[in-house]
Amino acid sequence: MSQHTHTQGLVELCHVSRSFGQVKALSNVTLTIRRGECLGLIGHNGAGKSTLMNILAGTLALDEGDMTFAGQPLGQDYAVNQARALGVRCVFQELSLCPNLSVLENTHIACPEIRGWQWRKQAAAQMTSSLDQIFPGHGIKPQHIVADLSIGQRQMVEIARAFTAVDRPVELVILDEPTSSLDARVAQQLLSFVRRFVEGGGSLVLISHILDEMLSSCDRIAVMQDGHVVEVRQATDYTRDSLVEAMGHAASPTHTQSDVRSNESSVADPTASESMTSGASNAPLRVHQASGPAAHTPVIEARQGQIIGLAGLAGHGQSAFLNKVLMSRQGAGQVAFVAGDRQTEGIFPLWSIAENMAITSLKGLSQYGLIERQKVMAMANQWQHEMGIRTPSVQNPMGSLSGGNQQKVLFARALGASADLILMDDPMRGVDVGTKREVYERIQAEAAKGRTFIWYTTEFEELSYCDHIYVFRDGQAVEGFPLSELSEARVLSSSFEEDVVC
C-alpha cells in the first residue's frame, strides 16, 4: 500500500492563506508532502515557513484554503489533538519544553498516551530509546530537569520526543530549524536519522538555513518567498548557488577562505603570546584559564580588531567562557553580547522591536540623562534597514517577528552599541543565508574599524571568518591556532581527543 501511495500526497495544502493584521504571512500556498519523503522548506527570514508548519501542526488556524491528510479533507476545526491523532508531530522553531519539568515529564506532555501506574518508567524507557536511536552518546538522563540542560540538549530532547510512538505510528514529523542549536556532530546524527526515518516510510518536513544540510538530506525542496511557494524541485536539481538564487538573493560566489581578509601577520601563536605586547592603545584582552584536562591550556587572547573564533562541541563551556568575559568587562561598559538562545537570553517580549534594539545603547541615545525617543526610533529604523528586518514597523512587538528576524534584532542591538568588544554566542541561529553573508561582511568591516569580536559558532564554515580559533573541550580551550592552520580535521580531532576514553 505504501508503494501505491508513494506518489500520492500524504498531506496536501491547497491555496492556503494566513495573515497577521496587515502582514500577509502566507498567500495562496499549495504544497504536497508525500509519503516516505523528506521535503525541505527554505526561504528568507519571515518567508512564512514556520507559519505554514504551525498550520499543518494544528496550532494556527488558516484563513483560507483546504488541507487533506491521506486523502481525507481536514475540517475548519482542525487542531492540535486531531493532528496528534493523525500522527503529525512538530518540533517548533522556538523550543516548546516546560523548563520546570524533567525530560520524562515533558514526554508525557507530548504523549499523553503514556499513563497508568508505571508511567514514569514507561516514559523514561521510551525517551531513552528514542534518544539513543537518534543521538547516540547524548548523555541526557530522563530524570534531568529541562532548565538544567543546555539549549542544544533541550533541542535534542524535543526532537527525540517527536519521534516517540506510543499507540500509533508517527506519520509526519515537522522539524523547524532543528539543527540551529546543535553542533556539527549532533546535527550529522540527526540528519542520518532523518534519512533512516524516511526510508522506513515516514514523512518529514525539514526547515533549515544551512544549505548543505538541505541538499544532502531532502528529497525535494520547496522554496518560499514572502508568503508564496515559488518553486518545488528535486533536491538533486539544486546547487548551493541555484538555491540561493531561488530564495531571491543575488547569487554571490560561494565563500572561500581566500577572500577572507587576512591580517594574519598580526596574529601570533597563542603559546608565544605572553611575550607579546601590543602597540595599540587598547591592551589586548587576555584570559588565563585554570589548568584543564589538556597538557597545555592556551591563554586566550583577543586584540583590537581581531575576530576570535571559539569552536568545539556544544556544551563544552564556550558560553560559560563568554559569560565570564562579559561579567568581567561589564563594569567598563564597553562590551556587548549577541545571544544565541534568544528566548531565554535575548529578547524582552513585552517591548517593541525598537526598544529591544536600543537597550544596550541608551547612553548614546540620551540627552541630559533623558532618553530621546526620536533617537531611539532613528536608530531602530536605520538598523531595520541595514539588517533587512521584515516588519511593517519597528514599533511592533518583538513577538510578531519571525525567529530569524528576532535574531537580527539582537545583532543590531550589539552592533549598534558603542562597545568595542562584542561577544557572540552562536549568533546565527535561524538567520537566513543572504542575511548571514551580509552580517559576515559587516562583522569584518567593524573589525577593520577596530572592534574586537569573540565568536562562538557551531558551524564550521563560520570559523573561516575568524583570525584565530580556539577549540574547547570539557570547559577549557584546549588548542588555539591562527586561521591559516584551520582545517576541519584539526577542529574535530581536538574536540574529540579524549572523548574516546570516557
Binding site: 516548546s96 516546560c98 519539568l101 506532555i109 530537569i145
Partner: protein, 317 residues
C-alpha cells in the same frame, strides 16, 4: 550511582529541596534547647496543631501559584468557610455542606473567568477578598457560632506515638506530592505553569488546567477553614485574614517560585510549619514587649540567612 559525577551535578538542586527541612530542624532544635518540655507528645501537639490549617492554606495557595497566579482572597475565603462551618454546618448540616461545595464551585468559576477573559488573577482575587469578607460579616456580624461536634472530635483525635498535627502534616505533604508531582495530572498542571504556550501546542487544555487548579485551591481552602474552626471551636469574620500572606510566604519559604510552575508540596508544608514555629520560638525567649514584633522578623531573617549559608557551603563542596 551515588558519588558519580552525574549525581554530583544534582547536589545543588537536592540541597535546595532540602533547605525547608533544614530550617524547620534548626527552629525545632532551638525550641527544644530553650524549652525541653516542648519535646513531648503534648508539647509538639500544642505547638503544631494550629499549623495544620496554615499548611492546608499554603497548599491551596500553592495550587494557584502553580499556574502563575496569586490568590489574595484566600484568608478571607477561609474565614468565610469557618463562619459557614460554625453556623450552617452546625445547624443545618446538609445546607452547610452544600454551601461549602458551592464555595469550591465558585473557585472553579473564578478560574474559568480568569482564563476566558484573560484577567489578572491578583485583581480578581483582591475583589473576591472583599466579597468573602462581606459575606462572612453578613453571616456572623459579631464573633460566635460553634463548630459541629464531629469536627471538634476529628481534630482532637489522639493518635498513637506521634501527635495528630504531625501525622496530618505528613499525610498532607505526601498526598499532595503524589497528586502534583508524581501523577500525570500533576505534570500537566505544572506544565501549564511552566510553559503555557508549549503545553497548549501539545494539546493540553489550559482552561481545564486552570479550572482544576482553582478547584483544588477551593477544596484545600475549605479543608483549612474546617480544620481551623474545629480547633478554635467557633469563628469570626476575620479569623483567618492573615492566612493570605502566611500562605504565600509558606509557599516561597518551601522552595516554590511565583512563576514557572515551580512548586514543592512537601516544602510548602514544611514552610508553613516553619512560619508557625518561628512565632513559637518567640514565646520561649524573653524579650521586652516592645521588641517582640521585631524579634519575630529577626528570627525569620536569621533562619533564612543560615539556610542561605548552608546552601552556599553545600554547593561549594
Amino acid at each position: 550511582m551515588v558519588g558519580s559525577p552525574e549525581w554530583r551535578a544534582h547536589i545543588p538542586r537536592l540541597l535546595r529541596t532540602l533547605l525547608p527541612a533544614f530550617s524547620l530542624t534548626l527552629l525545632l532544635l532551638a525550641i527544644f534547647v530553650m524549652q525541653p518540655r516542648a519535646m513531648s507528645y503534648f508539647g509538639l501537639n500544642l505547638m503544631l496543631n494550629l499549623a495544620v490549617p496554615i499548611a492546608l492554606a499554603t497548599i491551596a495557595q500553592m495550587m494557584v501559584i502553580a499556574i502563575n497566579d496569586l490568590d489574595l482572597s484566600l484568608g478571607a475565603f477561609i474565614s468565610f468557610v469557618a463562619c459557614v462551618a460554625a453556623t450552617w454546618l452546625n445547624t443545618h448540616p446538609v445546607a452547610g455542606a452544600l454551601a461549602l461545595l458551592a464555595c469550591v464551585g465558585i473557585y472553579a468559576l473564578l478560574g474559568a473567568l480568569i482564563h476566558l477573559r484573560q484577567l489578572p488573577a491578583i485583581v480578581v482575587t483582591l475583589g473576591m477578598s472583599f466579597v468573602w469578607s462581606g459575606a462572612a460579616i453578613l453571616l456572623l456580624p459579631s464573633p460566635g457560632g460553634s463548630a459541629p461536634d464531629w469536627l471538634r472530635t476529628l481534630v482532637s483525635i489522639k493518635t498513637p506515638w506521634v501527635p495528630l498535627a504531625i501525622v496530618a502534616s505528613v499525610v498532607l505533604a505526601l498526598l499532595v506530592h503524589l497528586l502534583m508531582v508524581r501523577s500525570t495530572l500533576g505534570v500537566r498542571l505544572r506544565g501549564a505553569g511552566g510553559n503555557a504556550q508549549a503545553v497548549a501546542k501539545s494539546g493540553v487544555s489550559l482552561f481545564k488546567a486552570r479550572v482544576t487548579l482553582y478547584a483544588f485551591a477551593g477544596v484545600f481552602g475549605v479543608l483549612a477553614g474546617l480544620c481551623l474552626v474545629g480547633l478554635t471551636t467557633s469563628a469570626d469574620a476575620g479569623i483567618a485574614m492573615r492566612y493570605t500572606l502566611l500562605s504565600i510566604a509558606g509557599v516561597i519559604l518551601g522552595g516554590g517560585e511565583f512563576v514557572g510552575g515551580r512548586i514543592a508540596p512537601i516544602g510548602a508544608v514544611l514552610g508553613a510549619l516553619t512560619l508557625v514555629l518561628a512565632g513559637s520560638l518567640l514565646s520561649f525567649i524573653h524579650i521586652a514587649p516592645d521588641w517582640q514584633i521585631g524579634a519575630q522578623g529577626a528570627i525569620l531573617i536569621i533562619v533564612l540567612a543560615l539556610r542561605t549559608l548552608a546552601n552556599r557551603i553545600g554547593a561549594r563542596s
